[in-house]
Subunit: 148 residues, 2 copies
DNA sequence: GTTGCTGCAAATAATTTGCACTCTC
DNA sequence: GAGAGTGCAAATTATTTGCAGCAAC
C-alpha cells in the first residue's frame, strides 16, 4: 500500500503555509495501516495511540488533505464515505455487502483519461468503480440461503 | 433522455407483487424531466402537480426503485446524492462546482465490464466518473478572478 | 376486507461549526 | 507573541422510521 512519510507530509504542509501538527501526521499515518477507511475507522484506529484526537479534527484534517490533493473522497450508499490515498486513475472493486475495496490497475482507464484531457476538459478527478459481492460475502450468502 | 412509461413501471411493480400507486408513478415520471436529480429536487418538482407527496415517500420510492433495478444511486461529496436512470455502463462527466452531470458513452468502459464478467466477478453495478469544471463554471470562475 | 403504502413528525446518523484554549512557527 | 489548529459540545443536514389512517388489489 502507498504510504505517507512524516517527512513528506511535513514538507507538503509547510510548502502551503500550513502547520505541521501531531494530529495531521497521525491521520496521514493511519492511511499506512487502513485500506480506504471511513473517518470513523481512522478515529478508532488512532484512539489507541493518540487518545486526545477528536473526531472533528479527523474530519477537518481529511478535508484539508483533500484540498491539498493528498487523498480523495469516495461517497457510497450503505458503506459510508471512504478516503483513498491512491490518486492515480484506477478501478475500485467494491463489495456492496461488506464494503471491502480492492484497487485494480487498468490500461483502458488511462486511455479514457488521456482522451478527456485531449478533448480539453479541465479534469479535477476521476472515479471508476465496479460493485460486486466479494468471495467471502458470496460464501456467507450461500450458507444463509441453505439454512432456510 | 430515457424515460419511464406508466405502463412499464406498473408492469414491473405488479410483476414483483408491489402496488401501483400514484406516488410511485409520479416519482418515475419526474425522471423524464429531471437529469440525475437529488431526492429534494424530485420532491420540489412534484410539489406543483402532486402537493400531497411527502419527502419520506420520495426516499422510500427511490430505495424501492433501486432494489427493483430501475435506478441507481450516486453519492457525491458537496453535490449530494443523485439518482440515475441510465443503468448501462457509461461515464458521468460531473461538474464539481454546480453538479451538472452529462452522460458519455464509451467503448473502453464496455471492454472493462466484459473483462470483469469474464473474470467471474458477480457484478452488481458500476460507476465511472470524470470530475471537471464545466464551461459555465469555468467562465464564472474566470470572471470572479478578474474582478479582484 | 386485508395489507401494503403514505404522510407526518420524531428519531437517527454523519458531518460541520462556534468558541475558548493550546501549540506551532 | 500571533494566529492557526484543536477539543468539545451544540448545530446542521440528509435520511430513516413509527404509527395511524388510506388506498390498491
Amino acid at each position: 500500500m502507498a504510504a505517507f512519510s512524516d517527512e513528506r507530509i511535513a514538507r507538503i504542509l509547510k510548502s502551503r503555509g500550513l502547520k505541521v501538527t501531531p494530529q495531521r501526521l497521525a491521520v496521514a499515518q493511519a492511511f499506512t495501516k487502513l485500506n480506504h477507511p471511513t473517518a470513523e475507522e481512522i478515529f478508532r484506529f488512532l484512539e489507541k495511540e493518540h487518545p486526545y484526537i477528536g473526531l472533528a479534527t479527523i474530519y477537518r484534517t481529511l478535508k484539508l488533505f483533500i484540498k491539498t490533493g493528498l487523498v480523495k473522497e469516495l461517497s457510497f450508499p450503505n458503506i459510508g464515505t471512504r478516503y483513498d490515498i491512491n490518486l492515480e486513475p484506477h478501478i475500485n472493486v467494491v463489495c456492496v455487502k461488506c464494503g471491502a475495496i480492492e484497487d485494480v490497475e487498468n490500461e483502458e482507464i488511462n486511455k479514457i483519461m488521456r482522451r478527456f484531457a485531449n478533448d480539453g476538459y479541465e479534469i479535477v478527478g476521476c472515479r471508476f468503480e465496479v460493485s460486486i459481492y466479494c468471495d467471502d460475502c458470496k460464501a456467507r450468502r450461500l450458507k444463509r440461503s441453505r439454512r432456510r
